[in-house]
Symmetry: C2
Subunit: 119 residues, 2 copies
């Protein structure tokens, strides 16, 4: 059998780890599970799947993220409003051949997309 | 109930989508599931969890990725060798208080870490 690996964690660099953990816990309905001074792991996204985690770094975010998350919501418009309430921002909306998605950003400017479940 | 969303996809920008899909399918033991000219989705990382996907972009990767993946392998040394065979590279090794991890990179220089399962 070939040597392979599993994805255990999606790690996000951040400058204000408490603010970022609060935002992402609320946005995804997750809980903080493990905490070290400069690292926080949230509960797993699904059983056996990866966890979202955060590490405090000194450098600011630069340019467009090379890796981003695409989210799925039952009501993307309501979710976008919730993101704004939580300190995130709306970047732009797209539609291509009947497929809609919105680009949002977390409090540190990491962009992510949201589409409607089952679209 | 609060308005939340699920993580459906971890999307990685790339310049050579075929090379990147080949590398990541082999490294993680996944299969290509959906293909459009500039987008590829792999099989889900776990049931109900996110999928890894790739989008072809014109711009090169710049600086350190703000989001990276942490992998878990039964045999990290063998996995690191496999990454090199597949066209990836080894960046550095770390040990902090008995916890070991290696930093590797995919063919486009996206860094990721690998640790031993159950460490």
């Amino acid at each position: 059998m070939a040597t392979t690996a599993l994805v255990g964690t999606i790690m996000i660099d951040c400058n204000d780890i408490d603010a970022m953990v609060k935002f992402w816990c609320e946005a995804l309905g997750l809980e903080q599970k493990v905490r070290y001074p400069k690292y926080v792991w949230l509960s797993r996204l699904s059983e056996g799947g990866p966890a979202l985690a955060f590490q405090q770094v000194p450098e600011p975010r630069m340019g467009k993220n090379r890796i981003h998350l695409d989210l799925v919501a039952e009501d993307p418009a309501a979710f976008a409003e919730r993101v704004l309430e939580l300190g995130g921002s709306r970047v732009e909306d797209h539609e291509v051949e009947g497929f809609h998605w919105s680009v949002l950003a977390d409090p540190e400017g990491n962009v992510f997309c949201v589409t409607e479940a089952g679209q």
